[in-house]
C-alpha cells in the first residue's frame, strides 16, 4: 500500500467517529527534513499503533501532532479543528495528552508533584483512587523523588499523570522501551483497560509483539511517510510484509 492510506484508511475499527486526521504532515529539526507527508486517521475509542524502524519518524509524528517540533506543515485536525498552527499548551487543553519516550519525569519534583503536575484540562479524567488502582506501586512511593523510581515505575507515573487531566486522546511513545516483561504485561493490561474506559490511544512501538496485544490498527512509518496500514484482524496476512518493513 502506498502512502495514501489516508482516504481509504484500512479497516476502520468502527469504534467511533474520526477524532484525528493527519494530512501531508511535514516536520523539520533545524535543517533536517524528517516527515515528508504523513497521512493517517484515528477513530474515537481505538488504539492505533505506529510501527517502524528507528529513525523512521514515529516519534516526530507524535511531537508534530503535539506541536512541540520546531517547524511543521500540512494539516492536523483534532475533532475537526485544525491544530497545525496551535501552540502545544492549547493543544493539550483541547484534550490531547502526550507521554514522551524518555518519560519526562521531573527530578526536582516528588512522585505526588509529578502526578499532579499536568493541569486538569476538562472533566472526565480518572480520579486518583482509580489511578492507584491501576498503578498500586505509585501510591506507596508518593513522597519519593520522581527520578528515584525504577524504570517501570517511572513509566507508570508518566502514563498515570496524563490520565488525571481529562484528555481523551493519549499519545504514548514507546511505553515498553527498556522494561521487564512483567512490567510490559502490566502496561498492556493498563492500555486495554483504558481503551475499555473509552480513551483513544495513538501508540508508537518498536515492540511489535506487545503492540499486537493492544492495537486495533497499525500504520507503518518509513523515511517520514506512512507506507502501509492494516487492521489487527489482517495481521496474520501481513506478517511477512511486516517483517520486511521492520527488519525483524
Amino acid at each position: 500500500m502506498a502512502e495514501s492510506t489516508t482516504a481509504d484508511a484500512p479497516a476502520k475499527a468502527a469504534t467511533g467517529g474520526n477524532i484525528l486526521q493527519v494530512r501531508n504532515l511535514e516536520a523539520w529539526y533545524g535543517e533536517s527534513h524528517i516527515l515528508h507527508g504523513i497521512n493517517f486517521d484515528v477513530n474515537a475509542g481505538e488504539v492505533v499503533t505506529l510501527l517502524g524502524r528507528n529513525g523512521a519518524g514515529k516519534t516526530t509524528t507524535l511531537k508534530s501532532i503535539m506541536g512541540i517540533i520546531g517547524k511543521r506543515a500540512g494539516s492536523v485536525k483534532f475533532n475537526n479543528q485544525e491544530i497545525i498552527r496551535t501552540t502545544s499548551d492549547r493543544i493539550a487543553r483541547m484534550g490531547i495528552a502526550f507521554c514522551p519516550e524518555e518519560r519526562g519525569i521531573f527530578s526536582s519534583l516528588d512522585v505526588r508533584e509529578n502526578l499532579l503536575l499536568p493541569p486538569v484540562v476538562r472533566p472526565g479524567g480518572l480520579p486518583l483512587e482509580q489511578i492507584f488502582d491501576l498503578f498500586p506501586n505509585l501510591k506507596e512511593r508518593l513522597n519519593s523523588q520522581g527520578t528515584k523510581l525504577s524504570g517501570g515505575e517511572q513509566q507508570m507515573l508518566a502514563i498515570a499523570r496524563i490520565l488525571r487531566t481529562g484528555a481523551s486522546f493519549l499519545m504514548l511513545d514507546e511505553p515498553t522501551e527498556g522494561l521487564a516483561p512483567v512490567i510490559i504485561q502490566q502496561i498492556g493490561h493498563t492500555i486495554a483497560r483504558l481503551k475499555k474506559e473509552g480513551f483513544t490511544i495513538l501508540l508508537v512501538e518498536q515492540n511489535f509483539r506487545f503492540a499486537s496485544t493492544v492495537a486495533d490498527r497499525y500504520y507503518v512509518v518509513e523515511h517520514g511517510k506512512i507506507i502501509d496500514g492494516f487492521a489487527n484482524s489482517e495481521l496474520a496476512a501481513n506478517m511477512d510484509k511486516l517483517h520486511t518493513y521492520l527488519g525483524v
Binding site: I68, T87, D89, R93
Partner: protein, 287 residues
C-alpha cells in the same frame, strides 16, 4: 563588644539585601537561564519609584512596599517580552551582555536626571527610633528590614518549593517543552517569573531607601557582591541564595570588626575558594 554587635547588625542588614537580590537572581536564572545583570539597576529603580510615589503622589512607605515591586515588576516583564525572550536557547553570554547594556542605560538615564548624589527618603514614623536590648541599641527600622526580608525570602522559598505553582516553575526549569505540552502557558510563566525576580529587587530597593538614600548608582555598588553571593550559593538554588546572602552579610560584618582591611574583599576570597572546591556553588546545579 557593643561594636561587634553593631557590626553583626550591619552584616545582617546587608545580608538581607544580598538575600533578596540573590534570590531574585536565582529565580530568574532558574527559569530563564539568564544572568540578569540589570538586577542592580532594577533595585535602584525600586528605590526611585518609592521616592517618586512619596514626593509626587504623597504615597507613603507602606504602600511603596507594595506598589514599587509591582511597577518595576511590570517594567521588567516588558523588558522580558520585548527583548529577553528572544535570547531563549542562546548562550548565557548574550543574556549577560543584553542585561549589562540595559543596566548601563537605566543607570545612565537616572544619573542624567538626578546626578550621583543621594536623594533623602525618611524612615516611616512607625519605625523611627530604637530600643535598648541591654547588650546593644537596635534601631527599629534596621530590625524591621531584617525580619521583613526573612519573611519575604521564606515566603518566596515556600511558593517555589511547596506549592503547585512552584512545581510548575521547577518542572519548567527542567523541561519547558514538556510542561507546555501538559497545557501550561510556559512563556507567560517565564514572563511572570522575571516580573517576580525583578519585583524582589525593587522591594530590596524600597527597604534600602531610608538607610542608604536613593542614588542612581546604588545598584551598581551592591550587584557585584550579590553576584559573588549567587556564585557561592549556587546559581539557581533558592535556599542556597537565601542562606548564603544572610551568611555572607554576617561574615562581612564580622570581618569589619576583626580585620576591617579585608571587609570589602572577604566575599570575593570566599567566592574563589568555593569555586576552587565546588564550581557549581555550595548548593547549586550545573549551568
Amino acid at each position: 563588644m557593643q561594636a561587634l554587635y553593631a557590626q553583626l547588625l550591619v552584616g545582617l542588614i546587608n545580608g538581607s539585601f544580598y538575600a533578596l537580590l540573590s534570590l531574585g537572581l536565582a529565580v530568574i536564572f532558574g527559569m530563564l537561564n539568564i544572568i540578569n545583570f540589570a538586577h542592580g539597576a532594577l533595585y535602584m529603580m525600586g528605590a526611585f519609584v518609592a521616592y517618586f510615589l512619596l514626593s509626587l503622589g504623597g504615597i507613603n512607605y507602606w504602600w511603596a512596599l507594595l506598589f514599587a515591586p509591582i511597577i518595576v515588576g511590570i517594567f521588567g516583564m516588558i523588558l522580558e517580552r520585548t527583548m529577553l525572550q528572544w535570547l531563549a536557547g542562546l548562550d548565557h553570554l548574550y543574556g549577560l551582555l543584553l542585561t549589562f547594556g540595559l543596566a548601563l542605560i537605566i543607570q545612565g538615564v537616572f544619573q542624567n536626571y538626578f546626578g550621583s548624589s543621594g536623594l533623602p527618603y525618611s524612615i516611616p514614623d512607625a519605625l523611627k527610633g530604637g530600643m535598648n536590648l541591654g547588650f546593644m541599641y537596635l534601631p527599629i527600622y534596621r530590625g524591621w528590614v531584617v525580619v521583613f526580608s526573612l519573611v519575604v525570602c521564606f515566603a518566596t522559598w515556600y511558593l517555589i518549593e511547596r506549592t503547585r505553582l512552584g512545581a510548575y516553575l521547577r518542572a519548567a526549569t527542567e523541561n519547558p517543552t514538556l510542561v507546555r505540552a501538559f497545557g501550561i502557558n510556559v512563556p507567560r510563566m517565564i514572563t511572570l517569573t522575571y516580573g517576580l525576580g525583578v519585583g524582589l529587587a525593587a522591594l530590596a530597593g524600597v527597604l534600602s531607601a531610608p538607610i542608604n538614600q536613593v542614588r542612581p548608582l546604588m545598584g551598581e555598588n551592591v550587584i557585584i557582591v550579590v553576584f559573588a553571593v549567587v556564585v557561592i550559593g549556587g546559581m539557581g538554588s533558592i535556599m542556597g541564595s537565601i542562606i548564603t546572602g544572610f551568611a555572607l552579610g554576617v561574615i562581612e560584618g564580622l570581618t569589619k570588626y576583626f580585620y576591617p582591611e579585608a571587609s570589602n574583599t572577604v566575599v570575593f576570597v570566599l567566592m574563589v575558594l568555593v569555586l576552587l572546591v565546588k564550581p557549581t556553588g555550595l548548593t547549586g546545579r550545573a549551568a
